[in-house]
Protein backbone atom coordinates (compact mmCIF):
# COMPACT_ATOMS: atom_id res chain seq x y z
CA UNK A 1 0.00 0.00 0.00
CA UNK A 2 1.49 3.38 -0.92
CA UNK A 3 1.78 6.15 1.63
CA UNK A 4 -0.74 8.25 -0.21
CA UNK A 5 -3.30 5.44 -0.02
CA UNK A 6 -2.92 5.24 3.73
CA UNK A 7 -2.06 8.77 4.80
CA UNK A 8 -4.02 10.68 2.16
CA UNK A 9 -7.37 11.61 3.70
CA UNK A 10 -6.12 10.92 7.25
CA UNK A 11 -6.55 13.58 9.95
CA UNK A 12 -3.27 13.99 11.80
CA UNK A 13 -2.10 16.22 14.68
CA UNK A 14 1.61 16.88 15.31
CA UNK A 15 2.87 18.63 18.44
CA UNK A 16 6.08 20.58 17.96
CA UNK A 17 5.26 20.94 14.28
CA UNK A 18 7.19 24.12 13.44
CA UNK A 19 10.79 22.84 13.50
CA UNK A 20 12.94 19.73 13.21
CA UNK A 21 11.20 16.38 12.94
CA UNK A 22 7.73 17.84 13.52
CA UNK A 23 8.09 20.34 10.67
CA UNK A 24 9.30 17.59 8.32
CA UNK A 25 6.36 15.37 9.28
CA UNK A 26 3.84 18.18 8.70
CA UNK A 27 5.27 18.80 5.20
CA UNK A 28 5.32 15.14 4.22
CA UNK A 29 1.82 14.48 5.56
CA UNK A 30 0.44 17.45 3.64
CA UNK A 31 2.21 16.29 0.45
CA UNK A 32 0.57 12.88 0.87
CA UNK A 33 -2.85 14.57 1.04
CA UNK A 34 -3.55 14.37 4.78
CA UNK A 35 -5.39 17.01 6.85
CA UNK A 36 -2.90 18.21 9.44
CA UNK A 37 -2.96 20.31 12.62
CA UNK A 38 0.27 21.42 14.26
CA UNK A 39 0.97 22.77 17.73
CA UNK A 40 3.86 24.95 18.95
CA UNK A 41 4.36 27.88 21.32
CA UNK A 42 5.75 30.58 19.04
CA UNK A 43 2.81 32.27 17.30
CA UNK A 44 4.79 33.72 14.39
CA UNK A 45 6.33 30.32 13.61
CA UNK A 46 2.96 28.57 13.85
CA UNK A 47 1.48 31.12 11.44
CA UNK A 48 4.40 30.78 9.04
CA UNK A 49 4.28 26.97 8.86
CA UNK A 50 0.49 26.94 8.67
CA UNK A 51 0.68 29.29 5.70
CA UNK A 52 3.52 27.35 4.02
CA UNK A 53 1.82 23.98 4.33
CA UNK A 54 -1.92 24.64 4.59
CA UNK A 55 -2.02 22.92 7.99
CA UNK A 56 -4.19 24.15 10.87
CA UNK A 57 -1.89 26.10 13.20
CA UNK A 58 -2.46 25.97 16.95
CA UNK A 59 -0.53 28.18 19.34
CA UNK A 60 -0.20 26.41 22.69
CA UNK A 61 2.20 24.90 25.20
CA UNK A 62 1.68 21.14 25.62
CA UNK A 63 3.30 21.41 29.05
CA UNK A 64 0.43 23.54 30.40
CA UNK A 65 -2.64 21.68 31.67
CA UNK A 66 -4.88 24.64 30.76
CA UNK A 67 -3.81 24.46 27.12
CA UNK A 68 -4.73 20.82 26.60
CA UNK A 69 -8.48 21.01 25.96
CA UNK A 70 -8.14 24.18 23.87
CA UNK A 71 -5.69 22.19 21.72
CA UNK A 72 -8.12 19.26 21.52
CA UNK A 73 -10.95 21.66 20.61
CA UNK A 74 -8.97 23.19 17.75
CA UNK A 75 -7.64 19.86 16.49
CA UNK A 76 -11.00 18.10 16.36
CA UNK A 77 -12.91 21.23 15.29
CA UNK A 78 -10.39 22.10 12.61
CA UNK A 79 -9.99 18.57 11.24
CA UNK A 80 -13.51 17.26 11.98
CA UNK A 81 -12.04 14.44 14.11
CA UNK A 82 -8.66 12.77 14.49
CA UNK A 83 -7.05 9.58 13.19
CA UNK A 84 -3.39 9.99 14.23
CA UNK A 85 -1.86 11.93 17.14
CA UNK A 86 1.91 12.46 17.13
CA UNK A 87 3.32 13.55 20.49
CA UNK A 88 6.59 15.00 19.21
CA UNK A 89 7.25 18.15 21.27
CA UNK A 90 9.70 17.54 24.09
CA UNK A 91 11.74 19.41 26.69
CA UNK A 92 15.45 18.79 27.02
CA UNK A 93 15.67 19.58 30.73
CA UNK A 94 18.51 21.84 31.85
CA UNK A 95 20.49 23.52 29.05
CA UNK A 96 23.45 23.18 29.04
CA UNK A 97 22.92 19.54 30.02
CA UNK A 98 23.56 18.92 33.71
CA UNK A 99 24.10 15.92 35.93
CA UNK A 100 21.04 14.99 37.96
CA UNK A 101 22.76 16.21 41.11
CA UNK A 102 22.86 19.72 39.61
CA UNK A 103 19.39 19.61 38.03
CA UNK A 104 16.88 21.94 39.68
CA UNK A 105 13.43 20.68 40.61
CA UNK A 106 11.98 23.23 38.23
CA UNK A 107 14.01 21.98 35.26
CA UNK A 108 13.13 18.36 36.04
CA UNK A 109 9.44 19.20 36.40
CA UNK A 110 9.46 21.16 33.15
CA UNK A 111 10.89 18.17 31.28
CA UNK A 112 8.22 15.88 32.72
CA UNK A 113 5.45 18.43 32.06
CA UNK A 114 6.22 18.74 28.35
CA UNK A 115 7.54 15.30 27.46
CA UNK A 116 5.36 13.09 29.68
CA UNK A 117 2.37 14.84 31.26
CA UNK A 118 1.62 16.73 28.03
CA UNK A 119 1.31 13.57 25.91
CA UNK A 120 -0.68 11.89 28.73
CA UNK A 121 -3.19 14.74 28.98
CA UNK A 122 -3.47 15.35 25.26
CA UNK A 123 -4.00 11.66 24.56
CA UNK A 124 -6.77 11.54 27.16
CA UNK A 125 -8.46 14.63 25.73
CA UNK A 126 -8.30 13.19 22.21
CA UNK A 127 -9.15 9.58 23.07
CA UNK A 128 -12.82 10.03 22.24
CA UNK A 129 -11.89 11.29 18.77
CA UNK A 130 -9.33 8.52 18.20
CA UNK A 131 -11.70 5.78 19.38
CA UNK A 132 -14.45 7.28 17.20
CA UNK A 133 -12.12 7.13 14.24
CA UNK A 134 -11.37 3.48 15.03
CA UNK A 135 -15.09 2.65 15.25
CA UNK A 136 -15.55 4.19 11.82
CA UNK A 137 -12.74 2.04 10.40
CA UNK A 138 -10.34 4.96 9.92
CA UNK A 139 -7.62 3.85 12.29
CA UNK A 140 -6.84 5.50 15.61
CA UNK A 141 -3.11 5.70 16.22
CA UNK A 142 -0.90 7.55 18.70
CA UNK A 143 2.81 7.92 17.95
CA UNK A 144 4.97 8.94 20.90
CA UNK A 145 8.38 10.16 19.75
CA UNK A 146 10.98 8.50 21.92
CA UNK A 147 14.80 8.50 21.99
CA UNK A 148 17.63 6.07 22.65
CA UNK A 149 17.91 8.01 25.93
CA UNK A 150 14.72 6.17 26.97
CA UNK A 151 16.66 2.93 27.21
CA UNK A 152 20.36 3.88 27.61
CA UNK A 153 21.81 5.79 30.57
CA UNK A 154 23.78 8.80 29.32
CA UNK A 155 25.35 11.06 31.95
CA UNK A 156 23.91 14.58 31.74
CA UNK A 157 20.59 13.55 30.19
CA UNK A 158 18.76 12.63 33.43
CA UNK A 159 15.60 14.75 33.25
CA UNK A 160 15.15 14.15 29.52
CA UNK A 161 15.87 10.42 29.77
CA UNK A 162 13.55 9.88 32.71
CA UNK A 163 10.72 11.59 30.83
CA UNK A 164 11.40 9.60 27.65
CA UNK A 165 11.67 6.27 29.51
CA UNK A 166 8.35 6.95 31.24
CA UNK A 167 6.75 8.04 27.95
CA UNK A 168 7.90 4.83 26.31
CA UNK A 169 6.47 2.65 29.05
CA UNK A 170 3.28 4.68 29.16
CA UNK A 171 2.85 4.05 25.42
CA UNK A 172 3.04 0.31 26.04
CA UNK A 173 0.40 0.50 28.76
CA UNK A 174 -1.90 2.72 26.71
CA UNK A 175 -1.59 0.14 23.94
CA UNK A 176 -2.57 -2.71 26.29
CA UNK A 177 -5.56 -0.79 27.60
CA UNK A 178 -6.86 0.76 24.40
CA UNK A 179 -6.37 -1.96 21.82
CA UNK A 180 -9.88 -3.30 22.50
CA UNK A 181 -11.15 0.15 21.49
CA UNK A 182 -9.05 0.01 18.33
CA UNK A 183 -6.60 2.75 19.33
CA UNK A 184 -2.98 1.64 18.97
CA UNK A 185 0.19 3.23 20.39
CA UNK A 186 3.69 3.21 18.95
CA UNK A 187 6.90 4.51 20.47
CA UNK A 188 9.44 5.55 17.83
CA UNK A 189 13.08 6.62 18.27
CA UNK A 190 13.93 8.93 15.35
CA UNK A 191 17.71 8.69 15.86
CA UNK A 192 20.18 11.59 16.10
CA UNK A 193 18.99 14.45 13.89
CA UNK A 194 20.43 17.82 12.95
CA UNK A 195 17.93 20.03 14.81
CA UNK A 196 17.82 22.87 17.32
CA UNK A 197 17.27 20.39 20.14
CA UNK A 198 20.39 18.45 19.23
CA UNK A 199 22.42 21.64 18.92
CA UNK A 200 21.24 22.78 22.35
CA UNK A 201 22.22 19.46 23.90
CA UNK A 202 25.51 18.87 22.07
CA UNK A 203 26.73 22.18 20.57
CA UNK A 204 30.09 20.68 19.55
CA UNK A 205 28.68 17.67 17.70
CA UNK A 206 29.77 16.98 14.12
CA UNK A 207 26.57 17.99 12.35
CA UNK A 208 27.54 16.21 9.14
CA UNK A 209 27.22 12.92 11.04
CA UNK A 210 23.57 13.67 11.93
CA UNK A 211 20.52 12.66 9.95
CA UNK A 212 18.35 15.21 8.24
CA UNK A 213 14.96 15.33 10.02
CA UNK A 214 13.25 14.69 6.64
CA UNK A 215 14.87 11.26 6.53
CA UNK A 216 13.68 10.43 10.05
CA UNK A 217 10.21 11.71 9.11
CA UNK A 218 10.08 9.28 6.18
CA UNK A 219 10.82 6.43 8.59
CA UNK A 220 8.15 7.57 11.03
CA UNK A 221 5.64 7.64 8.18
CA UNK A 222 6.71 4.17 7.04
CA UNK A 223 6.11 2.93 10.60
CA UNK A 224 2.65 4.52 10.58
CA UNK A 225 1.79 2.88 7.27
CA UNK A 226 3.06 -0.41 8.67
CA UNK A 227 1.02 -0.09 11.86
CA UNK A 228 -2.16 0.98 10.07
CA UNK A 229 -3.67 -2.46 9.50
CA UNK A 230 -3.10 -3.21 13.20
CA UNK A 231 -5.15 -0.18 14.08
CA UNK A 232 -8.00 -2.41 13.04
CA UNK A 233 -11.64 -1.56 12.85
CA UNK A 234 -13.43 -2.46 16.03
CA UNK A 235 -16.85 -3.81 15.22
CA UNK A 236 -19.37 -1.58 17.00
CA UNK A 237 -21.60 -4.52 17.71
CA UNK A 238 -20.58 -7.74 19.29
CA UNK A 239 -21.69 -10.99 17.73
CA UNK A 240 -24.62 -12.14 19.83
Amino acid sequence: MSHTDTIGGARIAVTGGTAGLGRALVGQFKEAGASVALVARTATEVERVAKETGAVGIVADVGRADDVHPIALQVTGGLGGLDVLINNASDLGPVPLAPLADTTDAAFEAALAVSLLGPFRLTKALLGALAGSAREGRGGLVINISSDAATSAYAGWGAYSASKAALRHMSAIWDEEMSESGVRFLSIDPGDMDTALHAAALPDADRTALRHPAEAAREVIAAIVDAWPRAATVPVEVDG
Binding site: H69, A72, G128, A129, V236, E237, V238
Partner: protein, 359 residues
Protein backbone atom coordinates in the same frame (compact mmCIF):
# COMPACT_ATOMS: atom_id res chain seq x y z
CA UNK B 1 -12.55 22.61 38.37
CA UNK B 2 -15.50 20.89 39.96
CA UNK B 3 -14.84 18.13 42.44
CA UNK B 4 -13.89 15.16 40.33
CA UNK B 5 -15.84 12.75 42.50
CA UNK B 6 -19.03 14.71 41.96
CA UNK B 7 -19.72 12.98 38.72
CA UNK B 8 -17.52 9.93 38.63
CA UNK B 9 -19.22 6.70 37.61
CA UNK B 10 -18.77 5.24 41.05
CA UNK B 11 -20.13 8.19 43.00
CA UNK B 12 -23.23 8.65 40.88
CA UNK B 13 -26.45 6.86 41.68
CA UNK B 14 -28.73 5.14 39.25
CA UNK B 15 -32.50 4.76 39.46
CA UNK B 16 -33.82 2.02 37.20
CA UNK B 17 -37.40 2.06 35.94
CA UNK B 18 -38.06 -1.36 34.45
CA UNK B 19 -40.31 -2.17 31.54
CA UNK B 20 -42.86 -3.35 34.09
CA UNK B 21 -42.71 -0.01 35.90
CA UNK B 22 -40.80 -1.48 38.84
CA UNK B 23 -38.33 0.93 40.44
CA UNK B 24 -34.93 -0.09 41.75
CA UNK B 25 -32.11 1.90 43.34
CA UNK B 26 -28.61 1.11 42.10
CA UNK B 27 -25.11 2.58 42.05
CA UNK B 28 -23.95 4.34 38.88
CA UNK B 29 -21.34 1.64 38.38
CA UNK B 30 -24.17 -0.94 38.18
CA UNK B 31 -25.18 0.39 34.77
CA UNK B 32 -23.31 -2.53 33.24
CA UNK B 33 -25.61 -4.95 35.06
CA UNK B 34 -28.72 -3.38 33.57
CA UNK B 35 -27.84 -4.36 30.01
CA UNK B 36 -27.33 -7.84 28.64
CA UNK B 37 -25.38 -9.67 26.01
CA UNK B 38 -26.69 -8.76 22.58
CA UNK B 39 -27.82 -5.25 23.58
CA UNK B 40 -26.35 -2.17 21.94
CA UNK B 41 -25.46 0.97 23.86
CA UNK B 42 -25.52 4.14 21.75
CA UNK B 43 -23.84 7.29 23.07
CA UNK B 44 -23.55 10.87 21.79
CA UNK B 45 -19.86 11.63 21.18
CA UNK B 46 -20.33 15.37 20.60
CA UNK B 47 -17.74 17.42 22.45
CA UNK B 48 -18.98 20.64 24.01
CA UNK B 49 -18.16 24.01 22.44
CA UNK B 50 -17.00 26.76 24.84
CA UNK B 51 -20.26 28.50 24.01
CA UNK B 52 -20.25 31.34 26.52
CA UNK B 53 -18.49 34.32 24.96
CA UNK B 54 -17.72 37.68 26.57
CA UNK B 55 -18.66 40.17 23.87
CA UNK B 56 -19.18 43.86 23.19
CA UNK B 57 -22.32 45.21 21.56
CA UNK B 58 -20.65 47.83 19.37
CA UNK B 59 -23.59 50.24 18.84
CA UNK B 60 -24.26 50.64 22.60
CA UNK B 61 -20.73 49.99 23.80
CA UNK B 62 -22.20 47.56 26.37
CA UNK B 63 -20.57 44.36 27.54
CA UNK B 64 -22.80 41.34 26.96
CA UNK B 65 -22.59 37.57 27.24
CA UNK B 66 -23.31 35.68 24.05
CA UNK B 67 -24.40 32.14 24.79
CA UNK B 68 -24.35 30.08 21.62
CA UNK B 69 -27.49 27.94 21.80
CA UNK B 70 -27.61 25.94 18.56
CA UNK B 71 -26.37 25.84 14.98
CA UNK B 72 -28.48 28.16 12.82
CA UNK B 73 -28.21 25.75 9.90
CA UNK B 74 -26.35 22.47 9.37
CA UNK B 75 -24.76 23.94 6.23
CA UNK B 76 -23.39 27.18 7.69
CA UNK B 77 -20.39 26.65 10.01
CA UNK B 78 -20.30 30.34 11.05
CA UNK B 79 -23.98 30.95 11.92
CA UNK B 80 -25.55 30.28 15.30
CA UNK B 81 -28.73 30.78 17.27
CA UNK B 82 -27.63 32.58 20.42
CA UNK B 83 -28.89 34.03 23.67
CA UNK B 84 -27.69 37.49 24.64
CA UNK B 85 -27.48 38.53 28.30
CA UNK B 86 -26.71 41.90 29.84
CA UNK B 87 -24.73 42.61 33.01
CA UNK B 88 -24.02 39.83 35.49
CA UNK B 89 -22.51 36.41 35.28
CA UNK B 90 -23.35 32.77 35.76
CA UNK B 91 -23.66 33.16 39.52
CA UNK B 92 -26.95 34.91 38.78
CA UNK B 93 -29.51 32.29 37.83
CA UNK B 94 -30.22 32.40 34.12
CA UNK B 95 -33.82 33.41 34.79
CA UNK B 96 -32.69 36.44 36.81
CA UNK B 97 -30.15 37.80 34.30
CA UNK B 98 -30.56 41.33 32.98
CA UNK B 99 -31.74 41.88 29.44
CA UNK B 100 -29.10 42.97 26.94
CA UNK B 101 -29.21 46.46 25.38
CA UNK B 102 -31.71 46.49 22.49
CA UNK B 103 -30.16 44.42 19.71
CA UNK B 104 -31.17 44.94 16.07
CA UNK B 105 -30.46 43.13 12.81
CA UNK B 106 -27.06 44.14 11.34
CA UNK B 107 -25.71 45.16 14.76
CA UNK B 108 -22.11 44.07 15.29
CA UNK B 109 -20.93 42.10 18.30
CA UNK B 110 -17.19 41.67 18.89
CA UNK B 111 -15.54 38.77 20.69
CA UNK B 112 -11.84 39.59 21.04
CA UNK B 113 -10.73 40.27 17.47
CA UNK B 114 -13.75 38.42 16.08
CA UNK B 115 -16.80 40.13 14.59
CA UNK B 116 -20.30 38.73 14.47
CA UNK B 117 -23.25 40.28 12.69
CA UNK B 118 -26.77 39.95 14.03
CA UNK B 119 -28.92 38.38 11.31
CA UNK B 120 -32.30 38.66 13.05
CA UNK B 121 -34.15 38.43 16.35
CA UNK B 122 -36.16 35.30 17.01
CA UNK B 123 -39.25 36.69 18.71
CA UNK B 124 -37.46 37.79 21.89
CA UNK B 125 -35.03 40.58 22.83
CA UNK B 126 -32.51 37.96 23.86
CA UNK B 127 -32.72 35.27 21.20
CA UNK B 128 -30.91 36.07 17.97
CA UNK B 129 -29.28 34.52 14.96
CA UNK B 130 -25.76 35.72 14.27
CA UNK B 131 -22.97 34.98 11.87
CA UNK B 132 -19.23 35.28 12.57
CA UNK B 133 -16.96 36.81 9.95
CA UNK B 134 -14.76 33.68 9.94
CA UNK B 135 -15.36 29.95 10.15
CA UNK B 136 -13.29 26.79 10.50
CA UNK B 137 -9.89 26.87 12.20
CA UNK B 138 -10.01 30.64 12.83
CA UNK B 139 -13.35 30.32 14.61
CA UNK B 140 -12.19 27.39 16.75
CA UNK B 141 -9.04 29.30 17.68
CA UNK B 142 -11.14 32.28 18.78
CA UNK B 143 -13.54 30.07 20.77
CA UNK B 144 -10.55 28.34 22.40
CA UNK B 145 -9.22 31.71 23.48
CA UNK B 146 -12.29 33.77 24.24
CA UNK B 147 -14.97 31.21 25.05
CA UNK B 148 -15.66 29.08 28.04
CA UNK B 149 -18.25 26.43 28.65
CA UNK B 150 -21.72 27.54 29.66
CA UNK B 151 -21.61 27.81 33.46
CA UNK B 152 -24.27 26.86 35.98
CA UNK B 153 -25.42 28.81 39.02
CA UNK B 154 -25.39 25.59 41.07
CA UNK B 155 -21.70 24.94 40.23
CA UNK B 156 -19.89 27.86 41.88
CA UNK B 157 -16.37 27.03 40.64
CA UNK B 158 -15.63 27.87 37.02
CA UNK B 159 -16.11 24.91 34.67
CA UNK B 160 -13.33 24.34 32.17
CA UNK B 161 -13.64 22.45 28.90
CA UNK B 162 -12.15 19.36 30.53
CA UNK B 163 -15.09 19.34 32.97
CA UNK B 164 -17.74 19.35 30.26
CA UNK B 165 -16.23 16.92 27.75
CA UNK B 166 -17.54 13.40 28.28
CA UNK B 167 -15.01 10.55 28.03
CA UNK B 168 -16.19 9.77 24.50
CA UNK B 169 -16.20 13.42 23.33
CA UNK B 170 -14.86 13.36 19.77
CA UNK B 171 -15.44 16.73 18.11
CA UNK B 172 -17.00 20.05 19.16
CA UNK B 173 -20.62 19.99 18.09
CA UNK B 174 -22.79 20.38 21.23
CA UNK B 175 -23.55 23.57 23.19
CA UNK B 176 -24.08 21.89 26.53
CA UNK B 177 -22.65 18.49 27.43
CA UNK B 178 -24.62 15.37 26.52
CA UNK B 179 -24.29 14.70 30.22
CA UNK B 180 -25.61 11.15 30.46
CA UNK B 181 -22.33 10.31 28.72
CA UNK B 182 -20.44 11.12 31.94
CA UNK B 183 -21.73 7.76 33.19
CA UNK B 184 -19.83 5.94 30.46
CA UNK B 185 -16.13 5.90 31.34
CA UNK B 186 -13.52 3.67 29.71
CA UNK B 187 -13.78 1.09 32.49
CA UNK B 188 -17.53 0.82 31.89
CA UNK B 189 -17.00 0.57 28.13
CA UNK B 190 -14.60 -2.28 28.67
CA UNK B 191 -17.01 -4.03 31.04
CA UNK B 192 -19.85 -3.65 28.53
CA UNK B 193 -17.76 -5.24 25.79
CA UNK B 194 -16.78 -8.07 28.12
CA UNK B 195 -20.50 -8.74 28.72
CA UNK B 196 -21.16 -8.97 24.98
CA UNK B 197 -22.79 -5.55 24.78
CA UNK B 198 -22.02 -3.47 21.69
CA UNK B 199 -21.04 0.19 21.92
CA UNK B 200 -21.78 2.64 19.12
CA UNK B 201 -21.94 6.41 18.84
CA UNK B 202 -23.56 9.21 16.93
CA UNK B 203 -22.83 12.92 17.05
CA UNK B 204 -25.75 15.15 18.03
CA UNK B 205 -25.56 18.90 18.58
CA UNK B 206 -27.20 19.12 22.00
CA UNK B 207 -28.42 22.72 22.38
CA UNK B 208 -28.93 24.83 25.49
CA UNK B 209 -31.14 23.31 28.17
CA UNK B 210 -32.51 26.58 29.55
CA UNK B 211 -32.89 30.16 28.31
CA UNK B 212 -34.00 31.80 31.54
CA UNK B 213 -37.30 32.79 29.91
CA UNK B 214 -40.29 30.46 30.39
CA UNK B 215 -41.74 31.41 26.99
CA UNK B 216 -38.48 30.64 25.24
CA UNK B 217 -37.98 27.47 27.26
CA UNK B 218 -41.23 26.19 25.78
CA UNK B 219 -39.52 26.39 22.37
CA UNK B 220 -36.71 24.07 23.49
CA UNK B 221 -35.10 21.99 22.25
CA UNK B 222 -34.10 24.05 19.22
CA UNK B 223 -33.43 22.29 15.92
CA UNK B 224 -30.38 20.05 16.46
CA UNK B 225 -28.25 18.63 13.64
CA UNK B 226 -26.86 15.13 14.04
CA UNK B 227 -24.65 12.67 12.15
CA UNK B 228 -25.11 8.90 12.38
CA UNK B 229 -22.16 6.77 11.17
CA UNK B 230 -23.04 3.91 8.83
CA UNK B 231 -21.48 1.47 11.33
CA UNK B 232 -23.94 2.64 13.99
CA UNK B 233 -26.97 2.30 11.71
CA UNK B 234 -25.81 -1.20 10.73
CA UNK B 235 -25.23 -2.21 14.37
CA UNK B 236 -28.76 -1.08 15.27
CA UNK B 237 -30.22 -3.12 12.42
CA UNK B 238 -28.24 -6.18 13.56
CA UNK B 239 -29.29 -5.82 17.20
CA UNK B 240 -32.94 -5.39 16.31
CA UNK B 241 -32.93 -8.37 13.98
CA UNK B 242 -31.82 -10.65 16.82
CA UNK B 243 -34.12 -9.12 19.43
CA UNK B 244 -31.51 -7.22 21.44
CA UNK B 245 -32.24 -3.82 22.91
CA UNK B 246 -31.02 -0.39 21.87
CA UNK B 247 -30.03 1.59 24.98
CA UNK B 248 -29.67 5.33 24.39
CA UNK B 249 -27.15 7.16 26.57
CA UNK B 250 -28.98 10.48 26.87
CA UNK B 251 -32.09 12.06 25.44
CA UNK B 252 -30.09 13.53 22.55
CA UNK B 253 -29.46 9.99 21.29
CA UNK B 254 -33.21 9.34 21.40
CA UNK B 255 -33.86 12.50 19.41
CA UNK B 256 -31.30 11.64 16.74
CA UNK B 257 -32.24 7.98 16.35
CA UNK B 258 -35.97 8.60 16.27
CA UNK B 259 -35.54 11.50 13.82
CA UNK B 260 -33.44 9.28 11.56
CA UNK B 261 -35.77 6.30 11.69
CA UNK B 262 -38.67 5.16 9.62
CA UNK B 263 -41.81 3.77 11.23
CA UNK B 264 -40.40 0.25 11.07
CA UNK B 265 -37.37 1.14 13.16
CA UNK B 266 -34.79 1.28 10.37
CA UNK B 267 -32.24 4.03 11.06
CA UNK B 268 -30.70 5.87 8.11
CA UNK B 269 -27.02 6.73 8.39
CA UNK B 270 -25.83 10.24 7.59
CA UNK B 271 -26.59 13.80 8.58
CA UNK B 272 -30.00 15.13 9.57
CA UNK B 273 -31.74 17.62 11.82
CA UNK B 274 -33.91 16.68 14.80
CA UNK B 275 -36.82 19.12 15.05
CA UNK B 276 -39.60 19.52 17.58
CA UNK B 277 -40.08 17.81 20.90
CA UNK B 278 -40.36 14.11 21.58
CA UNK B 279 -43.55 13.85 23.68
CA UNK B 280 -46.11 11.33 24.90
CA UNK B 281 -47.58 11.44 21.39
CA UNK B 282 -44.31 10.47 19.69
CA UNK B 283 -44.04 6.87 18.57
CA UNK B 284 -40.67 5.47 19.64
CA UNK B 285 -39.45 3.13 16.92
CA UNK B 286 -35.83 2.42 17.77
CA UNK B 287 -34.84 3.04 21.38
CA UNK B 288 -35.76 0.47 24.04
CA UNK B 289 -34.28 2.23 27.06
CA UNK B 290 -32.80 5.62 27.81
CA UNK B 291 -30.24 6.70 30.40
CA UNK B 292 -30.80 10.32 31.40
CA UNK B 293 -30.15 12.83 34.14
CA UNK B 294 -32.67 13.72 36.83
CA UNK B 295 -35.08 16.29 35.39
CA UNK B 296 -38.24 18.07 36.47
CA UNK B 297 -41.66 17.80 34.82
CA UNK B 298 -41.99 20.52 32.18
CA UNK B 299 -38.32 20.41 31.14
CA UNK B 300 -37.99 19.09 27.61
CA UNK B 301 -35.72 16.24 28.79
CA UNK B 302 -38.45 15.09 31.19
CA UNK B 303 -41.25 15.50 28.68
CA UNK B 304 -39.33 13.20 26.32
CA UNK B 305 -39.66 10.43 28.91
CA UNK B 306 -43.44 10.48 28.42
CA UNK B 307 -42.80 8.66 25.17
CA UNK B 308 -41.28 5.83 27.25
CA UNK B 309 -43.53 5.65 30.30
CA UNK B 310 -47.00 6.79 31.26
CA UNK B 311 -47.81 9.54 33.76
CA UNK B 312 -48.32 7.13 36.67
CA UNK B 313 -44.93 5.49 36.23
CA UNK B 314 -43.21 8.86 35.84
CA UNK B 315 -44.97 10.10 38.96
CA UNK B 316 -43.62 7.09 40.86
CA UNK B 317 -40.19 7.81 39.43
CA UNK B 318 -40.25 11.46 40.52
CA UNK B 319 -41.39 10.47 44.00
CA UNK B 320 -38.61 7.89 44.29
CA UNK B 321 -36.01 10.39 43.07
CA UNK B 322 -37.12 12.97 45.56
CA UNK B 323 -37.40 10.56 48.46
CA UNK B 324 -33.97 9.15 47.65
CA UNK B 325 -32.36 12.60 47.45
CA UNK B 326 -31.08 12.07 43.91
CA UNK B 327 -29.09 15.00 42.52
CA UNK B 328 -30.53 16.72 39.46
CA UNK B 329 -28.71 18.79 36.83
CA UNK B 330 -25.80 18.19 34.50
CA UNK B 331 -23.37 16.55 36.89
CA UNK B 332 -25.84 14.69 39.07
CA UNK B 333 -27.33 11.20 39.22
CA UNK B 334 -28.92 9.21 36.44
CA UNK B 335 -32.09 7.33 35.61
CA UNK B 336 -32.46 4.37 33.25
CA UNK B 337 -35.98 4.03 31.88
CA UNK B 338 -37.07 1.10 29.80
CA UNK B 339 -39.83 1.62 27.30
CA UNK B 340 -42.93 0.35 29.07
CA UNK B 341 -44.34 -2.94 27.87
CA UNK B 342 -40.96 -4.19 26.66
CA UNK B 343 -40.07 -7.58 28.17
CA UNK B 344 -39.07 -7.49 31.83
CA UNK B 345 -35.59 -6.17 32.50
CA UNK B 346 -32.67 -8.41 33.29
CA UNK B 347 -30.88 -7.39 36.43
CA UNK B 348 -27.86 -9.57 36.96
CA UNK B 349 -27.42 -8.08 40.39
CA UNK B 350 -26.96 -10.85 42.92
CA UNK B 351 -29.00 -8.82 45.39
CA UNK B 352 -32.16 -8.99 43.26
CA UNK B 353 -35.08 -9.46 45.57
CA UNK B 354 -33.39 -7.55 48.36
CA UNK B 355 -33.50 -3.85 47.64
CA UNK B 356 -29.98 -2.51 48.21
CA UNK B 357 -29.78 0.59 50.36
CA UNK B 358 -29.02 3.58 48.12
CA UNK B 359 -25.38 4.71 48.43
Amino acid sequence: MIAAGARSEAAARLLVVGADGRIRHRRGSDLVRQVRSGDLVVANDAATIPASLAARHVRSGCTVEIRLAAWASPDDPAAFVALVFGEGDHRTRTEDRALPPPVRPNDVLTVGPLRATVLDLLGSPRLIRLRFSVSGAALWAAFARHGRPIQYAHVPDPLGLGDVWTPLAARPFAFEPPSAGFALGWRALSALRACGVGVATLTHAAGVSSTGDPDLDRRLPLDEPYVIPSQTAAAIAAVRSRGGRVVAIGTTVVRALEAASTGDGVVSAGAGVATGRVTAATAINVVDAVLTGVHQPGESHFELLRAFADATVLQHMSTALEAGGYRSHEFGDVVLIERQGRCAPADHDATTGREPVPA
